[in-house]
C-alpha cells in the first residue's frame, strides 16, 4: 500500500517545480501532510484487523509477546482447527447464513411488494398506511424487545432459528426506499402491459422487479450488513447451541475460554471475513447500499 502512494508523491513533486520557488514548499508540505494524515487514519482503521489476523495464526505464547510480532514467527493453522473442535462453530456459521438469507429475501419481497402497492395502486387509506410506516422508523428495536421476547415465549420460538429471525422479517425503511424508487417508474409502462393483457403478478415480476435492481441490491446489502452483526436479539432469544449465530457464539466462547485469545481471534476472523470479502468484491454495491440509508428520515 505505502510504496504505491509514495511513488505517487514523487511523481507529483516535479509537477510543482514550474511554480515560483516561494510557493512550491508550502504546497509540497500540504500534500505531504495530507498523505500523512490519511495514512495515519488508515493504520488506525486497519490496526484491529491486522492484529486479529496475526493473532489467529500464532500460538498463545507468541500472541502475548511484547513487542508484538505482526508476521507470526511460528505460523500455524491449528487455532482454526481448535475453534471447530472445541465449539460447534460450523453450526453457528450455518445458523448465521440461514438467518441472514431468510431475512434478506423476506425484506426484499415484502418491501418491493408494499412499495409497489403504495407507489402505483390508489388503494383507500394508502396515505395513512404510508404515514404509519414512516412514523415507525422512529421506534427503536430496543423498545420492542421485551414484548417480542414474551411473544417468542408464547409461540415457542425461544432457541429456534425462526425465533432469531422473526423480528427482522420486515423493514419499514425498506418499504419507504422501494416506494420512493418505484414512484419514479412511468405509470404508462404498467398500463401498457395491462392493456396487453398481462396479469398483475406478471407485471410485478417482469416489469417492476427488473427496473428496481439497483434499489434492491442496495437494500440487500444494507439488510445483510445489519443482520450479520446483530447481537442483542440473538443474545436474548438463543439459549443453546441450536440457534446461536456467530456473534453470540463468539461471545459465549469468549466467556468460557476467556484467556484463549488465539482461538477467540481465529473465531473472530471466521465471523468478519465473509462480509469483508464480499465488500472487497462488490465495493460499489456496498457503498451505494450504505449511502442510500442517507435517504432515511
Amino acid at each position: 500500500m505505502s510504496p504505491d502512494i509514495f511513488s505517487g508523491m514523487t511523481v507529483k513533486a516535479p509537477a510543482c517545480t514550474g511554480m515560483p520557488g516561494s510557493k512550491r514548499r508550502p504546497l509540497a508540505l500540504l500534500h505531504l501532510l495530507t498523505y500523512v494524515a490519511l495514512l495515519a487514519g488508515a493504520v488506525w482503521t486497519l490496526l484491529p484487523l491486522a492484529w486479529m489476523v496475526s493473532a489467529s495464526l500464532k500460538p498463545l505464547s507468541e500472541v502475548m509477546r511484547i513487542p508484538p510480532t505482526w508476521v507470526p514467527l511460528q505460523p500455524t493453522l491449528d487455532n482454526f482447527r481448535q475453534v471447530f473442535v472445541q465449539f460447534p462453530f460450523g453450526r453457528y456459521l450455518l445458523n448465521s447464513v440461514i438467518v441472514a438469507a431468510v431475512v434478506v429475501v423476506s425484506v426484499l419481497l415484502t418491501s418491493s411488494l408494499a412499495g409497489y402497492s403504495l407507489a402505483k395502486f390508489n388503494v383507500p387509506g394508502r396515505t395513512f398506511i404510508f404515514f404509519l410506516i414512516l412514523s415507525s422508523l422512529m421506534v427503536p428495536f430496543q423498545t420492542r424487545m421485551i414484548p417480542l421476547y414474551r411473544m417468542a415465549v408464547a409461540f415457542r420460538l425461544i432457541d429456534t432459528r425462526l425465533g432469531v429471525m422473526f423480528p427482522w422479517l420486515i423493514d419499514a425503511f425498506g418499504i419507504f426506499l422501494m416506494r420512493q424508487f418505484i414512484a419514479t417508474i412511468p405509470t404508462e409502462l404498467i398500463e401498457a402491459a395491462r392493456i396487453d393483457g398481462a396479469s398483475e403478478p406478471f407485471i410485478f415480476v417482469r416489469i417492476i422487479l427488473p427496473l428496481t435492481k439497483q434499489a434492491l441490491s442496495a437494500l440487500a446489502v444494507f439488510t445483510l450488513t445489519a443482520n450479520w452483526e446483530e447481537f442483542l436479539w440473538p443474545l436474548i432469544v438463543s439459549t443453546s447451541e441450536a440457534s446461536r449465530t456467530l456473534p453470540v457464539g463468539l461471545q459465549g466462547f469468549a466467556e468460557q475460554y476467556g484467556t484463549n485469545i488465539h482461538w477467540q481471534m481465529a473465531g473472530s476472523v471466521i465471523a468478519v471475513a465473509p462480509l469483508i470479502i464480499a465488500f472487497l468484491v462488490l465495493q460499489r454495491q456496498f457503498v451505494e447500499g450504505i449511502a442510500m440509508t442517507g435517504l432515511k428520515g
Binding site: 500500500m1 504505491d4 502512494i5 505517487g8 508523491m9 495530507t34 488508515a42 482503521t45 484491529p48 484487523l49 486479529m52 493473532a55 511484547i66 508484538p68 419481497l109 411488494l113 408494499a114 402497492s117 395502486f121 390508489n122 388503494v123 394508502r126 398506511i129 415507525s136 422512529m138 421506534v139 427503536p140 428495536f141 430496543q142 423498545t143 420492542r144 421485551i146 414484548p147 417480542l148 421476547y149 414474551r150 423480528p167 420486515i170 419499514a172 398483475e200 450479520w228 452483526e229 442483542l232 436474548i236 456473534p247 461471545q251 476467556g258 481471534m265 473472530s268 476472523v269 465471523a271 468478519v272 469483508i276 465495493q283 450504505i290 449511502a291 440509508t293 442517507g294 432515511k296 428520515g297
Partner: protein, 303 residues
C-alpha cells in the same frame, strides 16, 4: 362506465394483496410490541407473583433510581463524545479524499469503509485485547513515546473512553460515504468562483462548503445520535467476560449505557414492567431527536 369501476375495483384488490404480507408482519412485529411495551410500562411485574397496576409509578421510580441516572449519564457522555468526534474525523477524511492531487483515493476510501462491514463483535474482541494493560498493543505504542498507559477496560475512568474510540472507529466510514455523496452535490462553479474572488481555503470551507453541506451534516448528526442512544454491543462485549471484569457494564457500572440497563433489568433482574417503562423513555428521546431533525431540514440553507 361499468368496466372502469370494475377495473378500479380489481386494482384496489391487487393493491391490498401486494400490501398484505408487509402489513401483517408490520402489525405483528412493530405495532403490537410497541403498544404492549407501553402497556407493560404501567405495571409492576415481578418474577414470582401477580402483576399490579402502578400507573406512572415506574416512571416516577426512574427519577430517584441512581442506576438509571448513571446509565443515562453514561449514554449522554457517549453521545457527546462519539458523535462530534465521528463527524469531525469523517468530514476531514472526506475533504482530504476530495483533494485534486491525491493518488490512491479509491484505496483509502476502501480502507476507511472496512469497519462498516466488519462484524462488531469480532472487532470489539480485537480491540479488547489491543487495550489489554500489560501485553496490549495500545499501551506498548504509548510506552514507545514514554507514556505509561492506564488499565483501560479495568479502570472506571478509562473503560468508557476506550469503548468510545471503538464506536468512532466503527462509524467513520459510514459518515464519510454520506459526506462524499453530499460533497458531490456542491456545484464546482461555486468553489471556483470563491477561489477567483480570492477566498482562502478556510474561508472556502466555512463560507461555501459547510453551509451547502448543512443538510447532510444534520442528517449524519441525527443518525449518529440515534445510534449513540441505542449503543449496546460494544460496551457489552468489551466489559463482559475476559480476565477480571465479568459483569457487563462494568467496572462498577462505569460503562452501563441505557440499553444495557434495560437489558439487565428485563433479562437478569426480571423487572419487566420497569424495564419496559425505561425502554419507552428511550423511544421518547429518539422521537425528539428525529422531530428536531425534521424541523431543521424543513428550513434548509437557501442560496
Amino acid at each position: 362506465m361499468r368496466s372502469i369501476s370494475h377495473e378500479r375495483r380489481r386494482q384496489v384488490v391487487w393493491g391490498y394483496i401486494f400490501l398484505a404480507p408487509a402489513l401483517a408482519l408490520f402489525a405483528v412485529i412493530l405495532v403490537y410490541p410497541l403498544l404492549y411495551a407501553l402497556w407493560l410500562g404501567f405495571y409492576d411485574w415481578p418474577v414470582f407473583g401477580e402483576k399490579t397496576f402502578v400507573g406512572l409509578g415506574n416512571y416516577a421510580r426512574m427519577l430517584s433510581d441512581p442506576l438509571f441516572r448513571k446509565s443515562l449519564v453514561n449514554t449522554v457522555c457517549w453521545t457527546c463524545c462519539v458523535v462530534p468526534a465521528t463527524v469531525v474525523i469523517s468530514l476531514a477524511v472526506a475533504l482530504l479524499l476530495e483533494a485534486k492531487f491525491l493518488k490512491g483515493r479509491g484505496l483509502f476510501r476502501t480502507i476507511y469503509f472496512i469497519p462498516v462491514v466488519t462484524s462488531v463483535v469480532g472487532a470489539a474482541f480485537a480491540w479488547k485485547w489491543l487495550f489489554e494493560p500489560t501485553f496490549g498493543v495500545i499501551n506498548w505504542l504509548l510506552g514507545l513515546v514514554g507514556i505509561r498507559g492506564p488499565g483501560w477496560l479495568a479502570s472506571t475512568t478509562w473503560a468508557l473512553p476506550a469503548m468510545m474510540a471503538v464506536g468512532v472507529w466503527k462509524q467513520v466510514g459510514f459518515a464519510m460515504v454520506i459526506f462524499l455523496a453530499g460533497l458531490q452535490t456542491i456545484p464546482k462553479e461555486l468553489k471556483e468562483a470563491a477561489t477567483v474572488d480570492g477566498a482562502s481555503s478556510s474561508q472556502q470551507f466555512f463560507r461555501v462548503i459547510l453551509p451547502l453541506l448543512n443538510p447532510t451534516v444534520v442528517l449524519v448528526l441525527v443518525m449518529l445520535v440515534i445510534n449513540a442512544f441505542r449503543v449496546f454491543t460494544i460496551p457489552y462485549v468489551m466489559s463482559a467476560g475476559g480476565f477480571t471484569w465479568a459483569t457487563p457494564g462494568g467496572p462498577l457500572d462505569s460503562t452501563r449505557v441505557l440499553v444495557l440497563h434495560i437489558y439487565d433489568l428485563a433479562f437478569s433482574k426480571f423487572q419487566v414492567g420497569y424495564a419496559s417503562a425505561t425502554a419507552f423513555v428511550l423511544l421518547v428521546i429518539i422521537m425528539m431527536v428525529t422531530i428536531i431533525q425534521i424541523k431543521l431540514v424543513q428550513r434548509p440553507f437557501e442560496y
